[in-house]
């Protein structure tokens, strides 16, 4: 579906959207990005609140903008609101989607983290963190390579940019903004 839908979001539609994000918040281990396929299924395929174009643009815009990637969820809500006619609806969409995706997971993390912090010298807590640490590091390395592979279907150009950027970041003290600007320029030339 590529056409932008014109919607008439009712109170029960908004509630359904809120409940959708609330439930994803709890299962989003590894970050909200892991629930993207499920969001796409519900928001685009099933409810037809967003076009495919709007959905993927929301994700790449949030990636390109400063700030946490989770803001793509705000953009999804924003676009659903705009599709139903006004900026006010857009702001309502932003508020509901962000409350939904943040509150349950954040509350749970907060309490578990407090518990873990108070009991941080307990052998079981120390062992849990020690055992998870190499896994978590591996996840970072693989998240980066997965994201790079997703951009431009892992073309030789994108892997080259990726490789050079990783080495530069590990070896030299370069401000990330310079690298991002170079990436943008190369992307402009290569795929523009």
């Amino acid at each position: 579906m590529t056409e932008t839908p014109a919607l008439d979001m009712t109170l029960s539609d908004w509630t359904a959207m809120l409940v959708h994000f609330l439930s994803l918040s709890i299962v989003a281990v590894g970050g909200a990005i892991t629930t993207v396929p499920e969001m796409h299924r519900y928001l685009v395929t099933e409810e037809r609140w967003l076009s495919d174009t709007q959905f993927s643009a929301s994700i790449s815009l949030a990636q390109a903008a400063p700030g946490p990637n989770i803001l793509f969820v705000a953009l999804l809500g924003w676009n659903i609101g705009l599709n139903s006619g006004s900026v006010v609806m857009g702001l309502l969409g932003v508020t509901l989607s962000m409350i939904g995706i943040l509150v349950p997971g954040a509350a749970l993390s907060y309490f578990v983290a407090r518990w873990g912090h108070t009991h941080r010298d307990h052998p079981a807590v120390r062992a849990f963190k020690a055992g998870m640490a190499p896994v978590v590091i591996a996840l970072l390395v693989s998240t980066g390579s997965t994201l790079a592979g997703a951009a431009e279907a892992g073309s030789p150009v994108s892997w080259t940019i990726f490789g050079i950027a990783v080495v530069t970041l590990c070896q030299f003290q370069v401000h990330i903004l310079w690298l991002l600007a170079s990436g943008a320029l190369i992307g402009c030339v290569a795929w523009g």
Binding site: A28, T53, N69, A74, Y110, K129, A138, V141, T143, L179
Partner: protein, 199 residues
């Protein structure tokens, strides 16, 4: 007001040398990090908290990050809650979270409005792709930098390498969901660590 660092090389929990002064300090710090974080904040967060502001050591960062990763929700959001909470409780957690979210939210909405008028332009699409690859490289580079945080890990070099290699293979090559990796690699590694810690 910074606590003086006492260097005791044989203690396995070296303290960070600085700490935030107030919830407002946390709010400002996380706002500054968030607006520098193009393509995700994680890269900047580690750099700012560990290397620049020195609020956390690499080991502490890795501990917080581990918890942030295995809990549901965005990792960076969880991390901000934990760092905030460890200094000022609930107030600190909320201050850090709001710092992370508020200004970037305004910026991304502004960007979305600008984007509406340029959406069809291929150069814009190309630039965004180029930036997202660099952002991805930043995440990978941070993972590589955190290797040194494993030095004091009770698992030791070889088991750490095995667990990390397995987890990388499972997620990057087999594309298994995170949950299986945590249960299949993380939990067994934790059990081994427990046997070694409790010994």
């Amino acid at each position: 007001m910074c606590t003086k660092e006492i260097m005791e090389p044989d203690i396995d929990r070296p303290a960070a040398t600085h700490r935030p002064r107030s919830p407002a300090d946390l709010f400002v710090a996380f706002t500054v990090m968030a607006i520098q974080g193009f393509g995700g904040v994680l890269g900047i967060v580690q750099h700012e908290l560990v290397e620049r502001r020195k609020w956390l050591t690499r080991e502490e960062f890795l501990e917080h990050w581990t918890m942030a990763q295995v809990m549901p929700g965005p990792n960076v959001v969880n991390l901000s809650l934990m760092v905030g909470a460890s200094h000022f409780g609930l107030r600190g957690a909320l201050a850090a979270l709001m710092g992370l979210i508020l200004l970037p939210l305004v910026l991304v909405l502004a960007l979305a409005m600008v984007y509406r008028s340029f959406a069809g332009h291929p150069a814009v699409g190309g630039a965004i792709k180029g930036m997202s690859i660099v952002a991805a490289a930043l995440i990978t580079a941070n993972g590589i930098r955190l290797f040194s945080g494993l030095r004091s890990n009770p698992l030791g070099k070889y088991l750490c390498a095995a667990a990390g290699g397995l987890a990388f293979f499972a997620t990057a090559v087999l594309r298994l969901p995170l949950v299986y990796v945590i249960l299949g690699v993380g939990i067994p590694a934790s059990v081994i660590a427990y046997l070694r810690v409790a010994k």
